[in-house]
């Protein structure tokens, strides 16, 4: 046996090459592992990845125009939008034909709403025209240009046709442009009118406030985590319950409690006035603005900072500090040069957690944020449930996701992701 192994490949006991039998053994283990996680994998795929993918896809999808008025789209493509003249009779005839079909399927109002995102007034144009066009007979009523102009002036404006032409593609960058306060005009991307520019501001505000919240969490959590990690186990467990206590109360209740605390006739203002620190006439405004959002969210996200910090600090033996002091370091030097660097992974993990949770937060800013303290996610929620502009909501969501990934990447470059420890 030793002779054969000296020359050829190493053989297992039954004569098969060792590599092959090892691969077989490993494959069996891998299959078993895969089967064990299969239920979770399928669940996550069906209930999470797939819907999110589908939702994100909506940010570029624009089938509705080409599907609802297919003939018009074809004819309109031949029209030179920059000529300043209205399209010719062919386009109007195609539109009439498309509209009759669309009206029968009640699809024209939806198209109207879609185009209304791009140009205000188109929704009512389509709705009103629908009532008239329903009575037309395609075979006998030609030519249609005159008839369209009779129903509504809108059909006689070049801008309307430009809008339809610009947004007739099956894929659009319009939602993404909207998401960054721009729009898709016939001449390509252009800035939104001043009055509609709000989203970039919101993105910036979300980022800056999330950073402030993360930093406040770090400052508040570090000493707590330190105490927890260095207390005898029994006392540490008791304190830990206090840290986790907020998790046992509904988020809504906690946020509402902050409303009670922070409002102008609230507990904190009352105490400040009673102490004479603040005059009764000018009580502090701490709610329905950014201050309120920052205070409430710092409180709510604090455990997510304390827990990773605690679990990292727990693994740092006290002997390191003692060693540093025995080597001549003052308390501060020992902390700063020896303890703190070792606790950075905990800060990193906590910060990533808190920051990511924070930029996607919705309920708390909604309740205590007023108009000045709301986040981008509140705008996403508005577009999903009120304005029903899902494409824009999806684009905003995609940008948010990209921002998180970029930050994550930057963090990896600067600090190193191996330097993140949850325990």
């Amino acid at each position: 046996m030793s002779d054969s192994t000296a020359t050829g490949p190493v053989l297992a006991a039954d004569g098969t090459p060792l590599k092959k039998s090892l691969a077989q053994a490993l494959r069996r283990e891998k299959t078993r592992a895969l089967l064990l996680i299969a239920p979770l994998l399928i669940f996550v795929l069906i209930s999470f990845i797939f819907p999110i993918g589908k939702m994100l896809f909506r940010s570029v999808e624009n089938d509705i125009v080409a599907d609802t008025i297919p003939l018009t789209v074809v004819e309109l493509a031949k029209w030179d939008a920059s000529s300043g003249e209205l399209p010719n009779e062919d386009v109007y005839a195609a539109m009439a034909a498309d509209m009759v079909v669309a009206i029968a399927a009640k699809a024209h109002t939806r198209l109207g709403s879609r185009l209304n995102y791009e140009q205000t007034g188109l929704s009512s144009l389509f709705r009103k025209s629908g009532r008239a066009i329903k009575k037309w007979d395609l075979a006998t009523d030609a030519p249609f240009k005159e008839k369209f102009l009779e129903i509504h002036d809108g059909w006689g404006t070049v801008e309307v046709w430009q809008t339809i032409q610009t947004h007739s593609g099956r894929k659009t960058s319009g939602y993404f442009l909207n998401a960054i306060d721009m729009q898709l005009s016939p001449d390509g991307p252009a800035a939104q009118p001043e009055s509609k520019q709000i989203l970039i501001t919101l993105f910036k505000r979300t980022m800056i406030m999330s950073m402030i919240i993360t930093i406040s969490c770090i400052l508040l959590a570090y000493p707590v985590a330190w105490i927890l990690a260095n207390l005898p186990a029994r006392k540490a467990n008791l304190l830990m319950i206090l840290v986790l206590l907020p998790f046992w109360t509904s988020l809504l209740v906690r946020t509402s409690a902050w409303k009670v605390m922070l409002q102008q006739q609230g507990v904190i203002n009352d105490i400040l006035v009673w102490l004479g620190l603040v005059a009764d006439a000018d009580r502090l405004v701490m709610i329905n603005n950014q201050t309120g959002t920052i205070i409430a969210m710092t409180h709510i996200l604090l455990p997510f900072m304390i827990l990773p910090m605690y679990s990292v600090m727990q693994t740092i033996p006290i002997t390191y500090l003692r060693a540093a002091k025995s080597l001549g370091a003052t308390n501060w030097t020992a902390f700063w040069r020896v303890y703190f660097p070792q606790s950075v992974p905990g800060i990193g993990a906590g910060s990533i957690l808190v920051f990511i949770l924070s930029i996607g937060y919705y309920i708390t800013p909604e309740i205590v944020g007023g108009t000045k303290g709301v986040f981008i996610s509140n705008r996403i929620a508005y577009h999903i449930s009120s304005s029903l502009n899902w494409g824009l909501a999806a684009a905003l969501g995609a940008i948010l996701l990209a921002l998180v990934l970029i930050l994550y990447w930057a963090y990896d470059k600067i600090v190193g992701i191996d330097n993140v420890k949850l325990g």
């Binding site: 003692r322 060693a323 020896v338």
Partner: protein, 366 residues
Amino acid sequence: MADSGNTGAFVEFERVQKSYDGEILVVKDLNLSMPKGEFLTMLGPSGSGKTTCLMMLAGFETATHGEIRLDGVSINNIPPHKRGIGMVFQNYALFPHMTIAENLSFPLEVRKIDKSDREAKVMRALDMVEMGAFGGRRPSQLSGGQQQRVALARALVFEPELVLMDEPLGALDKQLREKMQFEITHLAHELGITVVYVTHDQTEALTMSDRVAVFEDGRIQQLAPPDKLYEEPENSFVAQFIGENNTLEGVVNEISGERAVVQLDSGDLIDCKPINVSKVGERTQVSIRPERVEFNVDRLQEGTHRLKAEVLEFIYMGDIFRTRLRVAGRDDFVVKTRNAPDQVRLQPGQEIEIGWLPEDCRALDA
């Protein structure tokens, strides 16, 4: 070293007590005085208060009562970082986020020594422990023995006069431990530093130290050089803790100066040297080392008492033979003999007579 005229102690514990919880004294009335340059080992079972003593000396625990002096100055109120005491911890406590060179450089940086001096000193210290090539590595990239050397170098690099070591070799395997024992003592003597060394390994204590303090239950049971400790234990705890030891119990029957006769509980009489007993009728534990027991009757002194024994087990250990006997009703009596060409190998079941020189058998406290 500094002033040769100074004959006073370098490290002194005076009536030191320590309690963590206000109920139990972990260290009870500790008195200890060490001259400069001494290698003193604190030896004792786990929980006997050795680490606590070391921590009080280093300044990480405060004495509940009493005074600790360093070079004649009370250090009770001096914070640890101003004591200038080097320390090697049991798990080495090398800073994991720093390289080896940075670890060694740390005590010099906090002392504001300038860069070129620092680098020279770090290099010298690393070379001293034969780790010169490893300056750029991180502690996690070193083996246990290498980490140990680095920890030692770090404790020495700022040239402290006193170095404390708390079971520094506890995590190493036997061979490496013996090598390091030698190197540490060698270094200590070469540098002329004073060392307080803590261990629960008696071989380590005996081989390394100038003096050994045997701890038990927060007290020093005996403080003596290794040979004295082994050959002349002052009480039965020390006798049993240091080395292998046969214990027999009985009552003092006769006593006169350097000789006593003890009647064992089995009724047999033996000769011994009274240490902690002074009058007839006192209970005592007598202690005799296995290698001092003689069964070759010809070599025994005339007129001394002998004991009957039955051989239970013969164990061949290479350099020695270890024979277990039943003596005076106990079957844990051990005799060790050297593996010499003319040595008798006892057979189990054999009936023999044993005896010893009276001065090798010490009558201690009961």
